[in-house]
C-alpha cells in the first residue's frame, strides 16, 4: 500500500498511515505481492473506491471472523511457488522442492476456495488448468505435507531404483569383504574409510588392501585400497546411479512441461490467491473496527458521524479505556478550538485517518461518513517536527517551509489539517499568519480544519468554528500525584466531542487547572490564577 502522492512523510506519520498499512496487511506472499502495488484512488474514481469498500464490507458480512482468520492462516502458510512457475515457463526443469511448493500451493487453493465458497465477492483460485496440475502431482504426495518422485509417476523409476539398490548392495558386499580381510589382518575394527594403524601393532608389513596416506613416527594413517572386485562393483553402482538420475530427470521434465503449459493459468491463480488475501485482511479490519462504507463525493467535504482515530482507540482499549467518537460536518475550512488535552489533535487525526481509508477504498471507522476523494492530504503544525532534517531551521521556520510546500502543490480537492500552526511566534503575528493561510486555502478550494489556541481566528478569517466541549467540572488533583490517575481523572472530566460555536467564542484552555492536576506546586498554581485576575 503506497501513499506516495497522497501523503508526504510527515502527514503519513501524523495520521497513522503506517498503523493502517499494518492493520490491513495481507498474511502471505501472494497478498504481499499485490499489497505493495496498491495506490490511492484519485478524484474521479469515487465509484471505484466506493465499490472496493463495499466489496470489503460484503466479504466482512458474509464470512465469520473465524473463517477470515482461517483464510489468513492458509495464506500465511502457503509457500511461494511463483519462482517455480517462472522457471518452468522458461523451460527449466523443476526440482522436487519446487514441485512440493506447487503441490502445497494447490492444496492451499483448494482450502481457500472451500472456506470462501459462499462469498461471491472473492475470486476462485482453482480453475481447470490448476486442477490438471494438481492432479498430475498427486502421485508424488508423501504423507500430509511431503512429496516424493514416486514410482507411480513412471515405472522406469521403480526398475532403475531396484537396479541401483542391487548394485549398491553388491558394492557394499565387495567392500565389506575387503574391509573384513583388512580388519582380520590388523585385528581391529574398520568402520571408516580412514583409520590409524599403530606401528607397534604391526607384525610385519602393512597388509594387502591398505594404502598408507600419511606416516608419523608412531602410527600410519591408512585408507582401504579398492581391489578389482570392489572397483567393478563400484562401476556398476555408478552406472545404475546414472540410470536412476536419467529416469528421474525425465519425470521431472515431464511434470515441468505440464506446469509450463499451464503457467498463465497458474499465474492467474496466484494473483487470485493474493487478491483473496488482501481482501480478507481488509474485511477482518472492517469487522474488528466496525467500519462502514463512506459515501464519496467529488467535493471538498468531510462529514463524519461517530468517527474514531483507530491507533488511539486501540491504545486506549489496551489500557482499558474508551475512545470518544466525534461528529463533524466540514465543508471548506473551519477553525477548531478547545482546552489542552481536549482532543483537538485527535480530532484532526480522525479526519485524516478517515480520508486516507476512503482514498484506499477501505471502509471508514465511523458510523456514517460522507467525504471527498482527496488528491492530497496534508498535516501541518504539531507533529511536523517528527521528520527533523538536521538543518538549522527553527520549529517555526520548518512549519513555514511545510506550509509553503503544501500551498505550492497542485492538487484538488485537498484536505489540510493544521495543528497549532505558528504557535511558536508572537500571538499577534501568529494569528495573522493563520488567518492568511486559511484565506489562501479557501481560495484553493481546500477542505481543512485548523486547530489553534489563538483567539479571534475564526472571526477574522470568516470561517465556521468548532470547539471541543471540554471539562465538565473543576479538576481535582489526585492526592498521591500519580500521573496515570491524573490522566484518568482528566479523561473522566473531559467531554471530547465537538460542537459548532457561533462567532468567536473561545473557551479558556483550562491550562491552569490541567497544570494543577498534573502536579504543579500549589503556590505556582495560585500565582497563575492571581495573574489571570483583571487588574
Amino acid at each position: 500500500m503506497n501513499a506516495a502522492g497522497l501523503l508526504d512523510g510527515i502527514s503519513a506519520q501524523a495520521i497513522g498511515f503506517a498503523w493502517l498499512r499494518d492493520a490491513v496487511a495481507p498474511a502471505g506472499v501472494y497478498g504481499d505481492a499485490q499489497f505493495g502495488a496498491i495506490v490511492p484512488f484519485v478524484p474521479g474514481q469515487e465509484d471505484e473506491a466506493r465499490e472496493r469498500a463495499a466489496r470489503i464490507c460484503r466479504v466482512a458480512s458474509v464470512l465469520e471472523p473465524s473463517s477470515l482468520d482461517e483464510v489468513r492462516d492458509v495464506a500465511r502458510n502457503v509457500p511461494d511457488a511463483s519462482a517455480a512457475v517462472a522457471r518452468a515457463s522458461m523451460g527449466d526443469p523443476l526440482d522436487d522442492v519446487a514441485l512440493l511448493e506447487l503441490q502445497r500451493f494447490f492444496d492451499a487453493c483448494e482450502r481457500l476456495d472451500a472456506l470462501t465458497i459462499h462469498c461471491d465477492d472473492l475470486p476462485r483460485t482453482l480453475g481447470e488448468p490448476v486442477r490438471i496440475c494438481a492432479r498430475i502431482l498427486e502421485a508424488g504426495r508423501a504423507g500430509q505435507l511431503g512429496f516424493y518422485l514416486d514410482e507411480r509417476f513412471d515405472a522406469s523409476l521403480g526398475s532403475s531404483r531396484e537396479t541401483l539398490a542391487r548394485a549398491q548392495a553388491e558394492y557394499e558386499s565387495a567392500r565389506g569383504r575387503a574391509s573384513a580381510a583388512v580388519a582380520a589382518a590388523l585385528d581391529r575394527e574398520i568402520s571408516l574409510p580412514e583409520f590409524i594403524v599403530m606401528r607397534g601393532d604391526l607384525r610385519g608389513p602393512v597388509p594387502a588392501g591398505v594404502r598408507v596416506v600419511r606416516e608419523t613416527p608412531t602410527y600410519l594413517l591408512c585408507e582401504l585400497d579398492a581391489d578389482d572386485a570392489v572397483l567393478a562393483a563400484l562401476r556398476r553402482r555408478d552406472e545404475a546411479a546414472v540410470a536412476v538420475a536419467g529416469a528421474e530427470a525425465l519425470v521431472r521434465e515431464r511434470l515441468s512441461g505440464v506446469i509450463r503449459a499451464n503457467a498463465t493459468a497458474l499465474d492467474a491463480a496466484m494473483r487470485a490467491f493474493g487478491e483473496v488475501d488482501v481482501l480478507a485482511a481488509a474485511a477482518r479490519f472492517t469487522q474488528q473496527h466496525r467500519c462502514t462504507v463512506a459515501r464519496l463525493e467529488p467535493s471538498a467535504t468531510l462529514v463524519l458521524d461517530s468517527a474514531r482515530f483507530l491507533p488511539l482507540e486501540v491504545e486506549l482499549q489496551r489500557e482499558g479505556r474508551a475512545c470518544t467518537p466525534i461528529d463533524l460536518d466540514l465543508a471548506g475550512v473551519a477553525v477548531l478550538t478547545g482546552p489542552n488535552m481536549g482532543g483537538k489533535s485527535a480530532a484532526l487525526r480522525t479526519c485524516g485517518f478517515a480520508a486516507v481509508c476512503a482514498a484506499f477504498g477501505l471502509p471508514v471507522p465511523a458510523q456514517r461518513a460522507r467525504l471527498g476523494l482527496f488528491a492530497d492530504i496534508a498535516w501541518l503544525g504539531i507533529g511536523s517536527d517528527a521528520e527533523r532534517d538536521g538543518s538549522l531551521l527553527s520549529s517555526f521556520a520548518r512549519e513555514v517551509v511545510q506550509l509553503r510546500d503544501v500551498l505550492a502543490r497542485d492538487a484538488r480537492p485537498r484536505l489540510v489539517l493544521i495543528d497549532e500552526f505558528a504557535r511558536t511566534t508572537t500571538p499577534r503575528e501568529g494569528k495573522a499568519l493563520v488567518v492568511a493561510a486559511i484565506e489562501r486555502l479557501r481560495e484553493l478550494g481546500a477542505c481543512g480544519l485548523v486547530a489553534t489556541h489563538l483567539g479571534g481566528v475564526a472571526e477574522a478569517a470568516g470561517t465556521r468554528h468548532f470547539a471541543v466541549r471540554g471539562l465538565r467540572g473543576i479538576l481535582k488533583a489526585p492526592p498521591d500525584e500519580d500521573l496515570g490517575r491524573a490522566l484518568e481523572t482528566l479523561a473522566a472530566s473531559m467531554d471530547y466531542t465537538l460542537e459548532e460555536v457561533s462567532g468567536d467564542r473561545v473557551r479558556e484552555a483550562d491550562a491552569i487547572a490541567l497544570a494543577s492536576l498534573l502536579g504543579i506546586d500549589a503556590r505556582v498554581i495560585d500565582a497563575a490564577y492571581r495573574a489571570m485576575e483583571p487588574e
Binding site: 511448493e101 571408516l192 528421474e248
Partner: protein
Amino acid sequence: MRARIGESILRLWTESGARSLFIVGTGKNVGKTVAMRAIYGACMQEGITCALTSIGRDGEAADIGDAAPKPRLWLEPATVIATAASVLPHSPASELLALTPYQTAAGPLVYARVRDGAFYELIGPPHASNLRRVVRDLCALAPRTLVDGAVDRIAALAGGEDAIVVSCGAGAARTMSEAIDGVRALIVRLRTTRFNGGEARRIEGALTPAIVAQLLREGETRAVVVRDPTQIALGGKAALHAFDRLTIRCERPLKVIAVTVASIGADGAFEPRSFAHDVARATGLPVFDVYAAEYAA
C-alpha cells in the same frame, strides 16, 4: 583397548535417556563428523532410524573455510534429515517431508527422508532457537536425532535434554597440552553441576569474564548459579580459573557422555594413545579415538 566406537557411544547415549545427541567440537577439524558417522553407523547397525542435522554447515566435500577435504556423509535409506533445500542431492530423489519456515546460510530448510543411499550435505539453521525447534520436530520423525554442533554455538544446547559428545583433536591446537586444556575447559563448563540449595548468588544472563572478575574481587563464597551451562561465557584458562576459585552451579545441567579424540590435524599430529589417555585423565569421561578405534579410559 580395542573397541567398536560407534556402538560404545550409542550405548552411553541410550543409558543417558536422551533422544537427541549433540556433537560439539573444541574447534574445526577435530573429527566431529567422523564421530557422527561412527555413531550414525552404529544406529544403522542396530536398526535405529536416525534424524540428522547440523548447526550451520556440515558434510560438504571440502571445508568451505580452508578448502581442506572433509569426510562426507553417506546416509542410508529411512534416515531423516533437516538441511537446506539447495544442497539436497538431485539424484537419487529424497522424500521431502515438509517445507519449514527456517532459513539457513544456503536458503530455506526442508525435512527429508533418504529413500536411496547417497552422500548428503547438512546445513542446519544457524540460530539456537530455530535449531531447538528443528530438533524437536526431528525427534517426532525419528527415535534418535544426531546434531553436528559447533563450539561457538553451544547456546543451542540450552533448554534441551540432549546427550553431548565433545570432540577434540590436533586440528584445533598447536600442542597436545593446549588441546587438553581446551577440551578440559569446555567439559568443565558443560558439566557444571546442579545447584542443590543453600546460599546462592544468581546470575541473570551470561557469566562473563568481567562478572567473574568482580565476583573474585568481592570474595564471593556463595554458589554462583546460572540457569544452564550455556550461559557461562568463559573459555580456556579463564573458565578453569573461574571454576577453581568459585562455586559455579546451574539449575539445568547438561549431559556430557563422552569425548572423542582425533590425533591427526592438517598441520600436525599427536601420539594417539597418550593423547587419548591424557584427555581421559583431564576430563574424567570415557574417551574414544575414532580413527584408531580405541577406547582410552
